[in-house]
Symmetry: C2
Subunit: 140 residues, 2 copies
Protein backbone atom coordinates (compact mmCIF):
# COMPACT_ATOMS: atom_id res chain seq x y z
CA UNK A 1 0.00 0.00 0.00
CA UNK A 2 1.25 3.45 -0.88
CA UNK A 3 0.59 6.50 1.24
CA UNK A 4 -3.06 7.30 1.95
CA UNK A 5 -3.05 10.72 0.29
CA UNK A 6 -1.85 9.34 -3.02
CA UNK A 7 -4.43 6.58 -2.82
CA UNK A 8 -7.25 9.08 -2.34
CA UNK A 9 -6.10 11.33 -5.19
CA UNK A 10 -5.75 8.38 -7.53
CA UNK A 11 -9.40 7.63 -6.95
CA UNK A 12 -10.52 11.25 -7.37
CA UNK A 13 -11.51 11.54 -3.75
CA UNK A 14 -11.00 14.89 -2.01
CA UNK A 15 -8.39 14.48 0.68
CA UNK A 16 -9.69 15.10 4.18
CA UNK A 17 -8.24 14.53 7.61
CA UNK A 18 -10.99 12.04 8.38
CA UNK A 19 -10.33 9.95 5.29
CA UNK A 20 -6.60 9.92 5.86
CA UNK A 21 -7.02 8.86 9.46
CA UNK A 22 -9.56 6.13 8.72
CA UNK A 23 -7.39 4.78 5.93
CA UNK A 24 -4.37 4.68 8.22
CA UNK A 25 -6.40 3.04 10.97
CA UNK A 26 -7.58 0.30 8.61
CA UNK A 27 -4.01 -0.29 7.46
CA UNK A 28 -2.73 -0.60 11.03
CA UNK A 29 -5.63 -2.66 12.37
CA UNK A 30 -6.72 -5.26 9.87
CA UNK A 31 -10.17 -6.82 10.49
CA UNK A 32 -11.18 -4.04 12.88
CA UNK A 33 -14.82 -2.99 13.24
CA UNK A 34 -16.15 0.50 12.51
CA UNK A 35 -16.20 1.14 16.24
CA UNK A 36 -12.62 0.00 16.73
CA UNK A 37 -11.56 2.23 13.88
CA UNK A 38 -13.44 5.23 15.25
CA UNK A 39 -11.52 4.81 18.50
CA UNK A 40 -8.21 4.67 16.68
CA UNK A 41 -9.04 7.72 14.61
CA UNK A 42 -9.98 9.67 17.73
CA UNK A 43 -6.65 8.91 19.27
CA UNK A 44 -5.00 10.17 16.14
CA UNK A 45 -6.94 13.29 15.19
CA UNK A 46 -9.01 14.00 18.28
CA UNK A 47 -12.55 13.62 17.00
CA UNK A 48 -14.66 12.17 14.23
CA UNK A 49 -18.39 11.62 13.97
CA UNK A 50 -19.79 8.15 13.82
CA UNK A 51 -21.45 9.01 10.53
CA UNK A 52 -18.16 10.07 8.99
CA UNK A 53 -16.54 6.80 9.93
CA UNK A 54 -19.32 5.01 8.08
CA UNK A 55 -19.22 7.46 5.17
CA UNK A 56 -15.50 6.98 4.71
CA UNK A 57 -15.61 3.20 5.11
CA UNK A 58 -18.43 3.03 2.58
CA UNK A 59 -16.78 5.16 -0.04
CA UNK A 60 -13.44 3.38 0.33
CA UNK A 61 -15.20 0.03 0.05
CA UNK A 62 -17.13 1.15 -3.03
CA UNK A 63 -13.92 2.27 -4.71
CA UNK A 64 -12.28 -1.06 -3.91
CA UNK A 65 -9.61 0.59 -1.76
CA UNK A 66 -10.60 -1.48 1.24
CA UNK A 67 -12.65 -4.61 1.72
CA UNK A 68 -15.56 -5.30 4.04
CA UNK A 69 -16.16 -8.71 5.57
CA UNK A 70 -19.26 -9.58 7.53
CA UNK A 71 -19.00 -12.79 9.51
CA UNK A 72 -22.03 -13.92 11.49
CA UNK A 73 -22.29 -12.60 15.07
CA UNK A 74 -19.99 -9.71 14.35
CA UNK A 75 -20.32 -6.20 13.03
CA UNK A 76 -18.60 -5.61 9.70
CA UNK A 77 -14.80 -5.68 9.64
CA UNK A 78 -12.45 -3.90 7.28
CA UNK A 79 -9.02 -4.48 5.78
CA UNK A 80 -6.84 -2.95 3.11
CA UNK A 81 -5.66 -6.25 1.70
CA UNK A 82 -7.77 -6.30 -1.45
CA UNK A 83 -7.74 -8.08 -4.75
CA UNK A 84 -5.98 -11.24 -3.64
CA UNK A 85 -9.04 -13.36 -2.98
CA UNK A 86 -8.00 -14.47 0.47
CA UNK A 87 -10.37 -16.00 2.98
CA UNK A 88 -10.84 -15.87 6.74
CA UNK A 89 -10.56 -17.98 9.80
CA UNK A 90 -12.74 -16.78 12.67
CA UNK A 91 -12.75 -17.88 16.31
CA UNK A 92 -16.25 -18.80 17.43
CA UNK A 93 -15.68 -17.68 20.97
CA UNK A 94 -13.61 -14.48 20.78
CA UNK A 95 -13.99 -13.43 17.15
CA UNK A 96 -10.27 -13.30 16.40
CA UNK A 97 -9.91 -13.18 12.63
CA UNK A 98 -6.96 -14.44 10.60
CA UNK A 99 -6.22 -14.40 6.90
CA UNK A 100 -6.14 -17.65 5.00
CA UNK A 101 -4.79 -17.99 1.50
CA UNK A 102 -7.36 -19.19 -0.95
CA UNK A 103 -7.52 -22.94 -0.67
CA UNK A 104 -7.86 -23.59 -4.37
CA UNK A 105 -5.79 -21.10 -6.28
CA UNK A 106 -5.70 -17.61 -7.62
CA UNK A 107 -9.22 -16.77 -8.88
CA UNK A 108 -10.71 -19.91 -7.53
CA UNK A 109 -13.60 -21.46 -5.88
CA UNK A 110 -15.88 -19.91 -8.40
CA UNK A 111 -17.02 -23.34 -9.44
CA UNK A 112 -20.24 -24.27 -7.77
CA UNK A 113 -21.03 -25.94 -11.09
CA UNK A 114 -22.68 -22.65 -12.16
CA UNK A 115 -25.73 -23.92 -10.45
CA UNK A 116 -29.32 -22.72 -10.75
CA UNK A 117 -28.45 -20.40 -13.62
CA UNK A 118 -26.80 -17.90 -11.30
CA UNK A 119 -23.95 -15.80 -12.60
CA UNK A 120 -21.45 -16.32 -9.79
CA UNK A 121 -18.87 -13.61 -9.13
CA UNK A 122 -17.43 -14.55 -5.76
CA UNK A 123 -16.99 -17.53 -3.50
CA UNK A 124 -16.75 -16.37 0.06
CA UNK A 125 -15.20 -18.83 2.48
CA UNK A 126 -15.17 -18.52 6.25
CA UNK A 127 -13.48 -21.16 8.33
CA UNK A 128 -14.97 -21.37 11.84
CA UNK A 129 -13.13 -22.76 14.80
CA UNK A 130 -11.40 -22.03 18.06
CA UNK A 131 -8.26 -19.96 18.32
CA UNK A 132 -5.26 -21.17 20.35
CA UNK A 133 -5.99 -18.82 23.27
CA UNK A 134 -9.61 -19.95 23.54
CA UNK A 135 -8.53 -23.60 23.27
CA UNK A 136 -6.28 -23.11 26.28
CA UNK A 137 -9.00 -21.34 28.23
CA UNK A 138 -11.53 -24.12 27.61
CA UNK A 139 -9.07 -26.86 28.58
CA UNK A 140 -8.29 -25.33 31.94
Amino acid sequence: MQDPETTLRQHDLPVTAQRLAVLRAVAHHPHATADDLAEQVRQEIGAISRQSVYNVLNVLTDKGIIRRIQPAHSPARYEDRVGDNHHHLVCRSCGQTEDVCCAVGAAPCLHAHDQHGFQIDEAEVIYWGTCPACQRKSRS
Copy 2:
Protein backbone atom coordinates in the same frame (compact mmCIF):
# COMPACT_ATOMS: atom_id res chain seq x y z
CA MET B 1 -37.78 -35.22 8.46
CA GLN B 2 -40.26 -36.96 10.73
CA ASP B 3 -43.24 -35.22 12.26
CA PRO B 4 -42.49 -32.16 14.39
CA GLU B 5 -43.96 -33.52 17.61
CA THR B 6 -41.72 -36.59 17.55
CA THR B 7 -38.72 -34.42 16.81
CA LEU B 8 -39.41 -32.21 19.83
CA ARG B 9 -39.94 -35.15 22.19
CA GLN B 10 -36.76 -36.82 20.99
CA HIS B 11 -34.87 -33.74 22.07
CA ASP B 12 -36.63 -33.46 25.44
CA LEU B 13 -38.36 -30.27 24.44
CA PRO B 14 -41.88 -29.69 25.78
CA VAL B 15 -44.31 -29.67 22.89
CA THR B 16 -46.04 -26.35 22.38
CA ALA B 17 -48.23 -25.02 19.62
CA GLN B 18 -45.62 -22.33 18.89
CA ARG B 19 -42.78 -24.80 18.49
CA LEU B 20 -44.80 -27.09 16.27
CA ALA B 21 -45.87 -24.24 14.05
CA VAL B 22 -42.39 -22.73 13.74
CA LEU B 23 -40.90 -26.11 12.95
CA ARG B 24 -43.50 -26.71 10.26
CA ALA B 25 -42.94 -23.24 8.85
CA VAL B 26 -39.19 -23.83 8.59
CA ALA B 27 -39.80 -27.15 6.87
CA HIS B 28 -42.14 -25.58 4.31
CA HIS B 29 -40.11 -22.42 3.70
CA PRO B 30 -36.40 -23.16 3.53
CA HIS B 31 -34.09 -20.15 3.91
CA ALA B 32 -36.88 -17.97 5.33
CA THR B 33 -36.14 -15.20 7.81
CA ALA B 34 -37.53 -14.99 11.34
CA ASP B 35 -40.01 -12.42 10.08
CA ASP B 36 -41.14 -14.57 7.18
CA LEU B 37 -41.60 -17.47 9.57
CA ALA B 38 -43.57 -15.37 12.04
CA GLU B 39 -45.94 -14.48 9.21
CA GLN B 40 -46.38 -18.12 8.26
CA VAL B 41 -46.97 -19.14 11.84
CA ARG B 42 -49.62 -16.45 12.28
CA GLN B 43 -51.48 -17.75 9.26
CA GLU B 44 -51.39 -21.20 10.78
CA ILE B 45 -52.14 -20.65 14.48
CA GLY B 46 -53.38 -17.07 14.59
CA ALA B 47 -50.78 -15.38 16.76
CA ILE B 48 -47.27 -15.67 18.09
CA SER B 49 -45.02 -13.14 19.75
CA ARG B 50 -41.86 -11.96 18.09
CA GLN B 51 -39.90 -13.12 21.11
CA SER B 52 -41.31 -16.62 20.86
CA VAL B 53 -40.29 -16.92 17.25
CA TYR B 54 -36.75 -16.06 18.28
CA ASN B 55 -36.90 -18.32 21.35
CA VAL B 56 -38.02 -21.28 19.29
CA LEU B 57 -35.57 -20.67 16.46
CA ASN B 58 -32.74 -20.36 18.97
CA VAL B 59 -33.54 -23.53 20.87
CA LEU B 60 -34.05 -25.52 17.69
CA THR B 61 -30.77 -24.23 16.33
CA ASP B 62 -28.94 -25.05 19.56
CA LYS B 63 -30.29 -28.58 19.49
CA GLY B 64 -29.17 -28.99 15.89
CA ILE B 65 -32.74 -29.54 14.68
CA ILE B 66 -32.51 -26.62 12.31
CA ARG B 67 -29.66 -24.60 10.88
CA ARG B 68 -29.14 -20.86 10.81
CA ILE B 69 -27.32 -19.11 7.98
CA GLN B 70 -26.38 -15.44 8.07
CA PRO B 71 -25.35 -14.00 4.73
CA ALA B 72 -24.25 -10.37 4.66
CA HIS B 73 -27.03 -7.80 4.06
CA SER B 74 -29.70 -10.21 5.20
CA PRO B 75 -31.27 -11.14 8.49
CA ALA B 76 -30.63 -14.73 9.55
CA ARG B 77 -32.29 -17.48 7.54
CA TYR B 78 -33.31 -20.94 8.69
CA GLU B 79 -33.66 -24.40 7.19
CA ASP B 80 -34.26 -27.92 8.40
CA ARG B 81 -31.73 -29.49 6.07
CA VAL B 82 -28.98 -30.15 8.60
CA GLY B 83 -25.97 -32.37 8.83
CA ASP B 84 -25.19 -32.58 5.14
CA ASN B 85 -22.66 -29.79 4.90
CA HIS B 86 -24.26 -28.06 1.98
CA HIS B 87 -23.47 -24.51 0.96
CA HIS B 88 -25.40 -21.57 -0.44
CA LEU B 89 -25.73 -19.48 -3.52
CA VAL B 90 -27.13 -16.01 -2.86
CA CYS B 91 -28.34 -13.40 -5.34
CA ARG B 92 -26.71 -10.05 -4.64
CA SER B 93 -29.68 -8.08 -5.82
CA CYS B 94 -32.77 -9.93 -4.57
CA GLY B 95 -31.35 -12.26 -1.92
CA GLN B 96 -32.74 -15.43 -3.43
CA THR B 97 -30.94 -18.33 -1.78
CA GLU B 98 -30.30 -21.76 -3.28
CA ASP B 99 -28.65 -24.86 -1.91
CA VAL B 100 -25.38 -26.01 -3.39
CA CYS B 101 -23.84 -29.37 -2.71
CA CYS B 102 -20.47 -29.15 -1.11
CA ALA B 103 -17.93 -28.54 -3.82
CA VAL B 104 -15.30 -30.83 -2.38
CA GLY B 105 -17.00 -33.85 -0.86
CA ALA B 106 -18.76 -35.08 2.24
CA ALA B 107 -17.00 -33.57 5.26
CA PRO B 108 -14.94 -31.33 3.16
CA CYS B 109 -13.41 -28.02 2.87
CA LEU B 110 -12.10 -28.28 6.38
CA HIS B 111 -8.58 -27.97 5.10
CA ALA B 112 -7.33 -24.45 5.45
CA HIS B 113 -4.02 -26.13 6.29
CA ASP B 114 -5.09 -25.97 9.98
CA GLN B 115 -3.71 -22.52 9.97
CA HIS B 116 -2.76 -20.30 12.90
CA GLY B 117 -3.28 -23.12 15.39
CA PHE B 118 -7.05 -22.83 15.11
CA GLN B 119 -9.15 -25.92 15.62
CA ILE B 120 -11.41 -25.65 12.59
CA ASP B 121 -14.87 -27.20 12.78
CA GLU B 122 -16.65 -25.76 9.77
CA ALA B 123 -15.94 -24.28 6.40
CA GLU B 124 -18.79 -22.02 5.42
CA VAL B 125 -19.04 -21.20 1.74
CA ILE B 126 -21.33 -18.62 0.20
CA TYR B 127 -21.37 -18.16 -3.55
CA TRP B 128 -22.43 -14.66 -4.52
CA GLY B 129 -23.92 -13.80 -7.87
CA THR B 130 -27.00 -12.82 -9.81
CA CYS B 131 -30.03 -15.04 -10.13
CA PRO B 132 -31.65 -15.66 -13.52
CA ALA B 133 -34.56 -13.29 -12.84
CA CYS B 134 -32.25 -10.43 -11.85
CA GLN B 135 -30.05 -11.10 -14.87
CA ARG B 136 -33.06 -10.66 -17.13
CA LYS B 137 -34.12 -7.50 -15.34
CA SER B 138 -30.68 -5.90 -15.68
CA ARG B 139 -30.40 -6.76 -19.37
CA SER B 140 -33.66 -5.06 -20.29
